[in-house]
Amino acid sequence: MDALLQFLFSGLTVGAVYALVALGFTIIYNASDVVNFAQGEFVMLGGMITVFAFEAGLPLPLAALLAILVTSAIGVALNKLAIEPARGAPVVSLIIITIGASIVIRGATQLVFDKQLHRFPSFSGDDPIHVLGATILPQSLWVIGGALAVFVGLWIFFTRTLTGKAVLATANNRVAAQLVGINTGWVMTLSFGLSAAIGAFAGVLVTPITLVGYDVGVALALKGFAAAMLGGMGNPKGALVGGLLLGCFEALTAGYLSSQYKEAVAFIVILGVLFVMPQGLFGRKSTERV
C-alpha cells in the first residue's frame, strides 16, 4: 500500500512537471495552430536565468521574477524576429521555425551561461513529508500547486476574458478576427510572451527537482508535447490531465512492471488513446466549414 502511494506521489510530481510544460503549449497553439517546439527552451531559460541571477546575489523570488520577464521578452522577440516575418507561411513551416529557434536558444545559452548542470535551493527545504509510509518533497507540492494555478489562470483567461476570446478567435479565423477589430498581430505577440512566461515559471518551479542545464529543454518539450497530445492540444484541462496521467503511467510501470519499459508503456497508452480519440481526451473536434 505504501509502495502504491509512493508510486503515485512520484507520478504526480513528474506528471505536474509535464503538465506545466504542456500548459505552455496551449496559448500559442490556440492563437496560431503552431506547436511551439521552443517551449522546452523557455522552461530551460527560466531555470538557467534564475540560477545565475541567484548566484549573482539576487534573492530567489527576485531572480525568478527576472527570469520570467527576460524569457517572456525572448518569447516576444522570437515572434517579432522569426514568426511574424514568415506570416502567411503554412503552419508546418512555422513549426519548423520554432525548432530552429530552439536550436539557436540552446546554442546561445551554452555561450552566455555554461554547459554545466545547476540547481538552486528548494523553496521550502528538503525535508520529506511523510504520508502513510510514503514520502513526498515539499518542492513537489510547489510544482503540483503551480500546475493547478496556471491551469486555473488559463481557464479563466480563455473563457472569461475578452483578450482570451480574442486569442481563440484569431486561431479560428484570422481574417474574420481582423474584420471584427481584433489586432491579430498584437494577439500573436501576447501569446508568445505569455507562453514564454509560463514556460519560465515552470522552469523556476521544477529546477530544484529536475536540475537545469542548457540541454534539458528537448526532453521536457517532448514529454510535455506527448502530454498535451494525450489530453487534447490547446485545452488547458487536457494539458493538466494529460501531464498527470503520463507521469502516473510511467511511475506505475516503473514500480509494478519494469523500469526498462516505463516509457514504452506510457507511449503505447498514448497511441492507444489517440487511435480511439484522435483529438485527445479533451480536444475539440476539428470541423472544417466548406
Binding site: Q110, G213, L252, S259
Partner: protein, 382 residues
C-alpha cells in the same frame, strides 16, 4: 601523382628556406569534442593540451625541439573525427595523435591511426579500445570494469554481498551496468535488483522503492552520469534508506555534491582519482607533485577547477612527451610507438602508467581511490 610529388617537393623547398633559422618542430595532432554534446569532456581536454604545449615550448620543448600543435574540434561527431584524423595524418603530417573524447569518436580515429601507423592515445572509457590490444592504440582513462571492481572490493571489505543496482540508460550507465554485472560474481556480489532510469528523468523513487522492498539488499549501486545520479541521491535521502549508496566515477566532481546536496550525499561512496582530492593529498603521495602542479596551473590560466577529463588529456600528453624524449627521434611514429609501449612507471594525474605489449592501458586498481562524502567534502577512505 607526378604533380603531387612536385608540389610536395616545392613545399619542402619552401619550408626548408623558411625553417632555415627556426628550430625543428614536433608535430602533434589532437581531435577532441570541445563543443557539442560531449563538450564537458572535450572542453577541459582541449584547454589542458593547449596549456601544456605552451608551457613545454616556453621551457624549451623536447630536446630543444618545440611542439607544433594542430587541434581540431570534432563536436562529438564520429564522422568528423575520422575526417580530422585523416587530415592530421595526411596534411598536417603529425607524428602522434591524442583525442577521441568519446568512445564513438575514438573508434573513428583508431582505424585511421592503425592504418597509417601513427601512435594514438585515446581519452575515452570503453574497454574495447584496448581489448584486444591494437598496435598503435593506447588510452589513459581507466575502464568501467575497473570502477566496478574497485567498488565491489570495497563492498567485500564492508561485508556486503547482496546489492541492488539502479543504472542510467545513457551510454555510460548502460556500459557500466553491463561490466558490473559481469564482474560481480568474481567478487562474491549478488545483484538482487536491477533497475534503470532515463537520462532526463526527474524522479526515481518508484525504482528505489522496488529496491527497498527487495529482501536482503545491503547496498545500492548507481552507475550513471549527468543529473540522474544527483536525483537518485536525493531520492535515496527522501525515502530514508538505511543502507549505503555507491555512485560511480562518472560523477566524481565537486559539482556533484552541490547538485545532490551535502545532506543527501552524506556518507555515499564512489571511486575517484587523486585529482579530486588534490588539496588533501599527503606531500609524500606519489601523485602529489603532478596533481598539484596541474591543478594550480589550470586554475591560474582558466580560473576554473580541473576535471577528471582534463586529467586524462594531461596524462596522454605527458606520455607522448616522455615517449618522444626516450625515442630520441621526433620524426618517426614507429619509434615513438615503441617508446610509448615501453613506458614504465610514469606518474600521471589518473594513476601510474606502465604499458606492455599486452596492456595498452597500463593502470591498475590503485589508480582509483575510494572516496566518501563527509560534511560536504571528499574523504579518502583507503
Amino acid at each position: 601523382m607526378m604533380s603531387k610529388t612536385t608540389t610536395a617537393l616545392a613545399t619542402f623547398a619552401a619550408l626548408g628556406v623558411l625553417a632555415g633559422a627556426a628550430q625543428a618542430e614536433i608535430r602533434l595532432g589532437v581531435s577532441v569534442s570541445a563543443t557539442g554534446p560531449a563538450a564537458f569532456l572535450g572542453d577541459p581536454e582541449a584547454k589542458t593540451i593547449e596549456m601544456l604545449v605552451e608551457q613545454l615550448n616556453e621551457e624549451g620543448g623536447i630536446n630543444g625541439e618545440e611542439i607544433a600543435l594542430t587541434l581540431y574540434d570534432d563536436g562529438g561527431d564520429p564522422n568528423k573525427a575520422r575526417t580530422f584524423a585523416t587530415r592530421l595524418v595526411e596534411d598536417d603530417e603529425v607524428v602522434a595523435i591524442i583525442g577521441g573524447s568519446t568512445t564513438g569518436t575514438t573508434m573513428s580515429i583508431l582505424s585511421v591511426a592503425e592504418d597509417e601507423g601513427i601512435p594514438f592515445i585515446s581519452l575515452a572509457g570503453a574497454i574495447s579500445i584496448i581489448d584486444p590490444v591494437r598496435e598503435f592504440v593506447f588510452k589513459t582513462p581507466h575502464t568501467d570494469r575497473m570502477a566496478c571492481e574497485k567498488i565491489f572490493t570495497d563492498m567485500q571489505a564492508q561485508g556486503i554481498t547482496r546489492i541492488g543496482m539502479i543504472s542510467g540508460t545513457d551510454g555510460f550507465g548502460a556500459s557500466m551496468q553491463a561490466q558490473c554485472k559481469e564482474v560481480a560474481g568474481e567478487h562474491g556480489i549478488e545483484i538482487l535488483a536491477d533497475e534503470t532510469y532515463g537520462p532526463q528523468d526527474a524522479d526515481m523513487t518508484p525504482q528505489l522503492t522496488r529496491i527497498r522492498n527487495t529482501d536482503g539488499v545491503q547496498a545500492v549501486l548507481n552507475p550513471g552520469f549527468g543529473q540522474g545520479p544527483a536525483i537518485v541521491t536525493r531520492n535515496v535521502a527522501q525515502l530514508g534508506f538505511e543502507i549505503p549508496l555507491y555512485q560511480s566515477h562518472g560523477v566524481a566532481s565537486d559539482a556533484f555534491i552541490e547538485l545532490a546536496g551535502a545532506d543527501a550525499a552524506e556518507g555515499l561512496r564512489l571511486p575517484g582519482t587523486a585529482l579530486l582530492i588534490a588539496d588533501k593529498l599527503a606531500e609524500d603521495d606519489a601523485q602529489y607533485e603532478v596533481v598539484t602542479s596541474y591543478t594550480e596551473a589550470y586554475k591560474a590560466r582558466y580560473d576554473q577547477d580541473v576535471s577528471t577529463f582534463g586529467g586524462y588529456a594531461h596524462d596522454a600528453f605527458a606520455l607522448i612527451v616522455d615517449a618522444i624524449t626516450r625515442a630520441g627521434d621526433s620524426e618517426d611514429p614507429q619509434a615513438i610507438r615503441d617508446a610509448l609501449e615501453a613506458t614504465d612507471g610514469l606518474v600521471g594525474t589518473t594513476g601510474t602508467y606502465s604499458f606492455s605489449p599486452e596492456d595498452h592501458l597500463g593502470l591498475d586498481l590503485s589508480a582509483f581511490r575510494m572516496l566518501e562524502i563527509k560534511d560536504g567534502d571528499w574523504l579518502a577512505v583507503d
